[in-house]
């Protein structure tokens, strides 16, 4: 029995040693670029905008993946191991993964959290009593500018050699964000003030509402995992009918079922509400949807909203 146990341990040891060797072989991607691992697609885009050619960004969550429902795969482990810098949103958006990221500073990685870049007065309280702040900070363009500046500043410290380029990229990006803000404001003017209601499946758009004067109502609450109760649906249906709201919206990372049941409930109350289209909430889209960057995603959302409500 004992002999067999030793044999077993020996076998395992040999096997593990073998794995170690193949791992180091495979892991050699010889580049000077800073290896950065990010969580959401928005952050991936932001870091690529600022870092440019000097960084190699690996986003763990793909397009259309809901951060609340993210499941780690084997390659994510390798990405996280090889990273020099990790960037996440914070404010509990990434749940477990965020907690793991925060602990990575002990392993000599630079941990950047966008949460740190937002002035406290810009953070919106969450309706969910359990969470202090609404984590969907990217829907305020102003916040996103803060985040871009934060990434620039941190990257310049981590990689001072290319600090000039990072600053130049940031300057260009800030201008792009200014343009985006102007575009949003201009398009919103097309919607009569009394129709500025944004009704969606989950509460991701409060920062947008705050910045651009929309009343934002989500059916599901902040977390995409909690289901809408029947009372929520009927209350909101009454609201939509009373205010004669033209359209409600579905989201890319949330199933359409709940918003369809809302639509049916509104019809029962004698008001026709259309589904205005799909909005990108917790993840960017892909190139085919022309929403693969933050700026394009926001433009696509605004076009969808304005075209349906004007």
């Amino acid at each position: 029995m004992k002999k067999r146990a030793f044999l077993l341990i020996g076998m395992v040891a040999v096997f593990l040693a073998g794995c170690q060797w193949t791992a180091t072989e495979a892991g050699e991607e010889d580049t000077d670029a800073l290896q950065i691992v990010t969580t959401t697609t928005m952050i991936t885009d932001l870091v690529e905008q600022i870092g440019g050619e000097h960084v190699q960004v690996e986003g763990l969550m793909g397009p259309g993946v809901d951060p609340h429902g993210y499941q780690a795969t084997a390659s994510d482990v390798i990405d996280m191991m090889e990273a020099d810098v990790v960037v996440h949103n914070g404010l509990h958006l990434e749940a477990q993964l965020g907690e793991v990221f925060s602990g990575l500073d002990q392993q000599g990685k630079d941990v950047l959290v966008l949460e740190e870049s937002i002035p406290e007065e810009n953070l919106l309280a969450s309706d969910d009593s359990a969470e202090a702040y609404d984590p969907h900070i990217w829907f305020s363009v102003e916040n996103w500018k803060h985040s871009a500046a934060y990434i620039t500043e941190k990257l310049s410290v981590i990689d001072p050699e290319h600090a000039e380029d990072y600053r130049a990229n940031n300057e260009r990006y800030q201008k792009e964000l200014d343009k985006l803000e102007a575009y949003i404001a201009a398009r919103i003017e097309e919607v009569p003030e009394e129709s500025r209601y944004l009704i969606t499946a989950h509460d991701a758009f409060h920062y947008f509402g705050e910045a651009f004067g929309f009343d934002v109502i989500g059916l599901q609450g902040l977390n995409t995992e909690t289901e809408a109760g029947t009372r929520d649906v009927s209350n909101l249906a009454q609201f939509v009918a009373d205010h004669r709201i033209k359209a409600v919206f579905v989201e890319s990372s949330v199933p359409t079922r709940t918003i369809e049941s809302l639509q049916a409930a509104v019809q029962q109350r004698g008001w026709e509400v259309t589904i205005g289209g799909e909005l990108f909430s917790d993840a960017l889209g892909d190139a085919a949807q022309n929403a693969e960057t933050y700026v394009k995603m926001y433009r696509s959302n605004i076009d969808t909203i304005v075209d349906a409500l004007k």
């Binding site: 780690a72 482990v77 977390n223």
Partner: protein, 302 residues
């Protein structure tokens, strides 16, 4: 760190497989399913008291809840008013759903979301380090699971004879003075403890697979207890190593893949076991049928 993942997987698998052997032999696999779920309530309740996810009280609370589950189920079974499975079917969803409600209602802010408890995440395990005086001592779960593995091995080693006796002939064991109840609860305590220890690396659904799968493989391949333990341990090691290799190859969930491989080896044993395998049994049945017909013909009966 890739080595650490494999090491954690192997240790979790072996720690689960050891008590699993006795669960399979005592037909308690559904009980282990119940325990692995109800420990969640213990974790949640202990968390409300301590407000600290790293507190050892969580382990203790969860383990106690596992034992309480066993006690409650068996008390219900003893009333004879409902079937054995029914008792499990009542207690386990009740406790489990209370836990889920408590989590969604009061613990949204902490990292105690239902997902992470149910699914676990082996991928994150090596990134949760244990540091002492600024020294990195390796992944936390490696330590907790090693301790649990040692406890399981020690329990089985010390009470081997008693476990064997109470498993195969509880009446005789009681007659000669062993207490089957004490050993039973000892075993169930270990099952609960193992489930709690493993929950953040493999989650409470897959942990059942890790307990039952390798043990069942051993059960199908041998009739001797010592060999069964040996095969179960070996299967646990091989399953988790192959599972992780495949997970890296196909880029999927680590614990999920290990559980799939566990199921596959179990199925292989079921089909091809030289003595108890399905193919062997089918061949035997056909042979007996043929022999029966030739006998009928010989006797002239049609």
């Amino acid at each position: 760190m890739l080595v650490e993942i494999r090491l954690i997987a192997v240790i979790v698998a072996v720690a689960c497989a050891l008590p699993g052997v006795f669960l399979v032999l005592r037909s308690l696999t559904m009980m282990s399913d119940a325990i692995t779920h109800t420990v969640l309530l213990g974790i949640v309740l202990a968390f409300f008291i301590t407000q600290d996810l790293n507190s050892p009280l969580l382990m203790i609370g969860a383990t106690l809840m596992g034992v309480a589950t066993v006690w409650l189920i068996e008390t219900l079974q003893r009333t004879k008013l409902l079937g054995n499975d029914t008792a499990i079917g009542i207690v386990f969803p009740l406790f489990f759903s209370i836990a889920i409600i408590l989590i969604t209602r009061y613990a949204g802010d902490v990292h105690l979301d239902a997902d992470s408890v149910l699914m676990g995440e082996l991928a994150f395990a090596p990134f949760r380090r244990l540091t002492l005086f600024g020294m990195d001592l390796g992944p936390k779960s490696l330590w907790t699971m090693s301790v649990i593995l040692a406890l399981n091995a020690a329990f089985i080693g010390v009470f081997y004879k008693e476990l064997k006796l109470t498993t195969f002939d509880p009446a005789f064991a009681a007659a000669v003075g062993f207490s089957p109840a004490l050993l039973h609860y000892g075993l169930m305590t270990l099952v609960s403890l193992t489930a709690v220890g493993a929950y953040d690396s493999v989650g409470s659904i897959l942990v059942v697979g890790f307990m039952v799968g390798p043990a069942l493989t051993g059960y199908l391949l041998t009739n001797r207890l010592k060999q069964m333990i040996g095969i179960a341990v070996l299967a646990a090691v091989i399953n988790s190593l192959i599972g992780i290799e495949l997970a890296f190859l196909l880029d999927t969930s680590l614990a999920g893949m290990a559980a799939v491989v566990t199921g596959v080896t179990c199925l292989l044993a079921f089909l091809f076991s030289p003595e108890k395998g399905w193919i062997k049994k089918a061949a035997l049945r056909r042979k007996q049928k043929r022999e029966f017909y030739t006998w009928l013909e010989k006797e002239g009966i049609h």
